[in-house]
Subunit: 482 residues, 2 copies
């Protein structure tokens, strides 16, 4: 008899089933290496760990945007507002920084106080203004829920819709594993639809239709389709036509559209079309689309903001049954409220300094600089991949990731098998052990049977690490060549 009340055999089986590779064994090992290096007692063949496994910009030296953090410093210590002269002359704080802090404090009273469960009213109004300006269609602040990052919003929405082990949700593959992990915990079914690598990882509607049909034939009650746009891990941005096609499909099949749009400003090729805009444009043409249910999510963690550690985000609900919305409200209220300082950064993200404001010039310089840096590093990495034997990579299009195919020699595949790993995991572990670079194996996101990938961010500064990767790859291919 077990001596413990809780054992691996009797705990929640759905938690056990969940997989979350982004912070899995590879990431744990990389943290161990980081500690070893920090202790100064290490025989490791590298002197830094590069966490390319996770989109964590400020961990990789991206500087926060000054306006956001100046305002945040005043929100944390409102006593500073009693010394405006010191702030201005001694610390260089501009009038718009001080005004914004005062306004936000009026809205939240204190960043140490709980806000309303949905988030502070004035901040939700700012989000609505932003959406309206972005899309050219009105937005209703009472349909906007602030959240602790987009992850928390996804968790809420999936909790509401997953009613039984037969509930299914269409999820793009490759995907961000939050979706599969949360569906596993909720004991619901992930219905995968494959993105088309040969077409820059676009959505292929016929594949979605096939996936839906197969799931329904298997008795799955498919309730929703997730679209990650721009894509994670793929970086692909959907054209307006693709957005419209997905919406029409959702209307026909009565599916809730969950649009994960956290990379909406990380777009290098083409432009971003929000699902909200697509929906309103479509509804303007034909009112038979008036019943579509759309939840779209955004976050302060990505983009040029990169404030992951502050856990801020929002989701907007359109077309939901009010009785369902009430349940969503109740569900979020159990967690009390999203972090209030994160809510304030959401406000600043959607309402940054404008032309003519004192802080505008610096804001613009910082914002554009981060964008340019991301794009340059994406292309530098892409060029390096093109030179690597057996590596194929789509042109960088957006988000923070590249997701190259790796064609590994049979000997490597055999060695992986012997090691009890999938070939891409085997490769990723070897890469980490040799170079300190931590990526995520493609199997962590899902990939077409018979293909191998890894996901790497292009956030790490400099190019030294790209050189380390190239050198490793050459050695690996040599070691395992036929």
């Amino acid at each position: 008899m077990a001596t413990k009340a809780l054992t691996l055999e009797n705990i929640n089986p759905h938690v056990k089933t969940a997989k979350y590779a982004v912070r899995g064994e590879l990431a744990v090992r990389s943290e161990k290496y980081r500690s070893e290096l920090a202790s100064g007692k290490s025989d490791l063949p590298f002197d830094t760990v590069i966490s390319a496994n996770i989109g964590n910009p400020q961990q990789l030296d991206q500087k926060p945007i000054t306006f956001f953090r100046q305002v945040a410093s005043l929100l944390e210590n409102p006593q500073l507002l009693e010394k405006e002269d010191v702030l201005k002359s001694g610390l260089g704080y501009k009038t718009d920084v001080i005004e914004r802090a005062k306004w936000l404090l009026k809205e939240v009273k204190s960043v140490g106080a709980y806000s309303q469960s949905m988030g502070a009213t004035g901040i939700r109004q700012s989000v609505a203004n932003f959406i309206e300006q972005r899309d050219g269609h009105p937005a209703d602040p009472s349909s906007i829920y602030l959240s602790a990052g987009a992850s928390s919003g996804v968790n809420t929405l999936l909790h509401i819709m997953c009613a039984s082990p037969k509930t299914g949700v269409l999820v793009p593959i490759p995907q961000y594993p939050l979706y599969t992990a949360t569906l596993a915990v909720l004991d619901a079914v992930c219905v995968p639809y494959y993105l088309d690598e040969s077409k820059g990882w676009g959505t292929d509607l016929s594949k979605i239709e096939d996936a839906l049909k197969k799931a329904r034939d298997d008795g799955i009650d498919v309730k929703s389709i997730v679209v990650i746009n721009p894509g994670n891990p793929t970086g692909a941005s959907l054209a307006a036509d693709d957005v419209e096609a997905v919406l029409k499909f959702a209307a026909k099949e009565k599916l809730v559209v969950m649009a994960d749009e956290v990379y909406q400003t990380n777009v290098f090729i083409g432009s971003f079309t929000s699902f909200k805009k697509g929906l309103r444009d479509l509804q303007a043409k034909d009112d038979k689309y008036n019943d579509i249910e759309l939840a779209s999510l955004h976050s302060i963690s990505k983009g040029m903001v990169g404030e992951c550690g502050h856990r801020g985000g929002y989701f907007e609900l359109v077309g939901f049954d009010p009785a369902v919305v009430e349940q969503i409200y109740k569900f979020v209220s159990i967690s009390l409220c999203p972090p209030v300082i994160g809510q304030c950064i959401v406000e600043m993200m959607v309402n940054p300094p404008k032309e003519g404001d004192e802080s505008y010039e610096l804001y613009k310089t910082e914002y554009d600089g981060i964008f340019k840096g991301l794009k340059e590093r994406a292309y530098a990495l892409y060029e390096a991949f093109k030179q690597m034997e057996g590596v194929e990579c789509q042109t960088p299009a957006g988000s923070m990731y590249l997701f190259p195919t790796i064609n590994l020699p049979q000997k490597a595949i055999d060695a992986a098998k012997e090691d009890g790993k999938s070939p891409d995991e085997f490769y990723a572990f070897k890469l980490l052990d040799a170079t300190g670079i931590c990526v995520v194996a493609g199997s962590g996101f899902g990939q077409q049977e018979g293909t191998l990938h890894f996901r790497t961010t292009f956030l790490a500064p400099g190019t030294d690490w790209v050189g380390r990767m190239t050198k490793f790859h050459k050695g690996f291919m040599e070691e395992y060549k036929a």
Copy 2:
């Protein structure tokens, strides 16, 4: 046929079942009143809304502790650290504030970066040091998980242990509704055990034994016992003997002990004994208790800290099977990490300025002032309750709440029935409509059949609102007298 994919009939039935009165209909109505008052266009018979429904100190004018917020302002804007002279001479920041900010930034790199899933290493070490000093027994930082408030920790632990609709958890009644709500969402069974109002809301072991036996007879697999100490909503603090008795019971019945200790510094009568200390003391006497599994939770939201909006907390695991701990790690990693600035405030809560530090005197003055204010208001409210007809209240012992019994006249009970409300809800709505004071009806926490209560915080400043309540009660009793 429904026009929507999601309807009240087909969403997650377990979310529907969940109840969360603290932010329920009463709270929603109080927010509506607050907006009306703010708009200046209101005919309401009061001019402020008093949110006595929720322990939200800073919403009710409790000032944050200066040291915490000065450090936080530097964490948000590290550029300020380049101007130490201005900070010191112009803004009065002390050396220990600056040093603490530098140390925390070294630990987290940026408050905008994700930390490890369990929280930053150095902060977990500080928590371990605090526990060691509090209890006189060592603590292991690798067993400490930082969380987004204690709520998030409770959510994690219940997710792990609830394996089927037959899983049960012993929960004290009255209780904080987070437990029942989360168990409902997880489709597990809340096994209530009643606290003894006549003994200052203490735990009565025979009642716990009866509740467990009855549940097991009904085929419930009871895995854990929750103890809220000091109690919410009751304020009761357990003596060391009571703690030991619960631990022995848990060992005998093989139950995980979940000790919710978020009010550990809100103690007016007696002293706080942590379950961790109780456990180690017990184990020192007899090693047959070595297998007890204890999870104890703490938070920055309560105490004299009152930083709810920052969503910070931690839980410590003792005696858990390592394979189960691995699953807990994976589960928390799906949410990425707790808010980093909240983690930093956890660090400051457990490691505040010490005697001899430059900020100590101010810290001590603020801390003691908040404690004294809470105690004074608790007793003022208690005295008012003693004067009210039909109201009985235990002596204030701790936490942030009083939970008086109300004996209502039959006419009021009949009127409630006609109104489709429980009598205590009816009373609470009348109180809100007449005075702007929002409390929570006892039925939101659970109460013995045939008894009626309400929970009120004693956070609101001043005594005017107590007068409003007394006047309302007198009028209510008159209106409904036989």
